[in-house]
Symmetry: C2
Subunit: 365 residues, 2 copies
């Protein structure tokens, strides 16, 4: 029962892997869980059509930076298997057009551009002439992206699992799990690893307003993996900490400044303040690449404001008067003083973060 979520994802990967093994003679398709239907329905979408794959990313069928990147790369590879190009030149021309088109599916998703760019670059550098060889190389590169992210998640999990003891209760926010990555997630990875080692870990998942990624996605994937999970509203976290029922908080991060200040889903900062008040350790789990050494501290991280309708008309119901103002910041920044440690694939970084970051090889500007 361990890793059921991950095994499911691996089963999907195997479908891709099959078409890789068949070298385009029997072209495969990108297969994804349709996350827009969770938790009501578990349905898959499959395609090797570039326009359809574009719409999967645009419609949030797949979300989470690492998952978007890998889906775009694998989608590009699947679509290009059908290419009728008869020369390297025409294949590369078609590849660039397709990659540019997929890159337009989510305007600000850095991982999306990075993964597509990496695929195009790999083929540019290759000296292969035959479109068939290029197709093979493209699949190889897309799978490298997938496999590297799986390994990265695994290592975050192993490094974070050192913090967990049998019987502990962990609180998490939003979804930084298997559904957001190619592997076992970032914030949830230590929990999956501890669970796989036979430790009993209880998880409280903040529902995470306004889009409820915690209730819809985190609860779903932990439940599928057989992990004891309970959903709460965001405003109940303080109550649980006050009752001594939370041992540890772990959340993901979207961007980490050179001093350790961490931007993540709105509500993370409140959790960190509550954790400090209750002397509950508060950890961030994220790939090392999330640390942006060009940013000295959190004040330089811009906070995206999203449409008020996400709050006032969530789930198709008018829950606030249409005439009333809504404030909907999508992220907040947790200052490094409130962070007990940053769990990365390279190791667990403890304060002071500037020294910790240096130890792992990043230099301050």
């Amino acid at each position: 029962m361990i890793y059921e979520t991950v095994r499911w994802k691996m089963a999907d990967d195997r479908i891709c892997a099959e078409f890789a093994g068949n070298k385009g003679l029997m072209p495969g398709k990108l297969r994804l869980i349709d996350q827009t239907l969770l938790p009501e329905k578990l349905e898959y979408v499959e395609s090797d059509d570039i326009a359809e794959i574009h719409s999967f990313i645009k419609r949030l069928v797949v979300r989470g930076a690492p998952a978007i990147g890998a889906a775009a790369a694998l989608g590009l590879a699947a679509a290009m298997q059908k290419s009728g190009a008869d020369s390297r030149e025409s294949f590369m021309c078609e590849l660039r057009r397709s990659a540019d088109y997929l890159a337009s599916s989510r305007p600000t998703a850095v991982n999306l551009f990075w993964a597509l760019g990496r695929c195009v670059d790999a083929l540019k550098k290759s000296d292969a002439d035959s479109p068939d060889t290029l197709k093979e190389k493209l699949l190889e590169e897309a799978f490298s992206i997938l496999n590297e992210d799986m390994l990265l998640c695994e290592n975050i999990g192993k490094n974070g699992a050192t913090l967990l003891k049998d019987g502990m209760t962990v609180l998490t926010h939003c979804n930084a799990g298997a559904l957001a990555t190619c592997g076992i997630g970032t914030a949830l990875a230590p929990i999956y690893i501890a669970h796989s080692r036979g430790l009993k870990i209880k998880v409280y998942a903040d529902e995470t307003r306004p889009l409820l990624q915690g209730a819809r996605l985190t609860a779903w994937e932990l439940d599928k993996a057989g992990i004891d999970v309970t959903v709460i509203c965001d405003n109940m976290a303080g109550f649980l900490m006050g009752k001594g029922r939370i041992d540890l908080v772990i959340t993901g991060a979207d961007r980490i400044a050179a001093n350790g200040d961490s931007a993540n889903k709105i509500g993370t900062y409140s959790l960190a303040v509550l954790a400090r008040h209750h002397k509950v350790p508060f950890y961030i789990a994220a790939p090392y690449s999330t640390i942006d050494m060009n940013i000295n501290d959190g004040t330089a991280i811009p906070i995206e404001e999203r449409a008020g309708e996400e709050i006032s008309r969530s789930f198709g119901k008018q829950t606030a008067p249409p005439t009333v103002k809504i404030f909907n910041p999508a992220f907040d920044v947790t200052p490094h003083e409130l962070i007990s440690g940053i769990i990365t694939e390279k190791g667990l970084i403890l304060p002071p973060y500037k020294d910790g970051l240096k130890r792992y090889g990043l230099q301050l500007l």
Copy 2:
């Protein structure tokens, strides 16, 4: 534009008042805003039928302890105007039956039992023999309940308004406003009073999961009254405090212990912790009768746990997997150390609360 909400309520009261003036010759009806339809539709329900009035309370057409009490008393009075009883004895018998029936509409609403009991007691004590005189007395008592609560709200407002200065921004949680009381509310009363004096007050209203009373009701009534209100998700309060954008927090309370520990809607405690961290004053506003001197501290206040479906199926959609556990405490207790002051109709009580409570005449057990 000042007090528009309150004027609306008074307009409704006047309808009741009209039937009072007509002494049952042209029986009037209880008229209420149907709060279940807010904020999508403003519709009124009217009735003098005891079964219908029972269902108004049961279905949460009217909610908020003081509003429920007054609605039950006025509803009882309206229904009893139609009584065909020809003796004091048969009138009293019918009255008791009707009051008992209305009391069964919400099993744990203390104000409901109190208001109905007060009406029955007033008639028991009266020496009137004629059913017509008893009907008049009943209306009188019901209106006393209404008017006393209006005055109480007004005085909470005046006492709390001393804390507000022009240009201040106040954060509130849940709905402790005009819709929950017969007057201008408790937590919102200082804001209405300050606004009526020409002060510009900006309000942030926590949407208040799971039932969204802040987004649905607080935002609606403040907007109607012409007060600058912005809805946020509960998890955004810390972000705003961190940016220095909140000057004061005011919430209501359901029950206050002798030492000042205050039970209120879930999420209030988290707000109080966040306010302390950011050095933002945190006030409770409540009728003096909310202070329960039989309870030494907050640990003795039981916390109601409500159905998980309020969280997992709110918005009419399944937002968490149906197989997953949900934890849904309806209230939390804010310890007195985190409370800057308790605003009552008798005055503003400042710490230490035991002394403050004594000054206003309550004795510790």
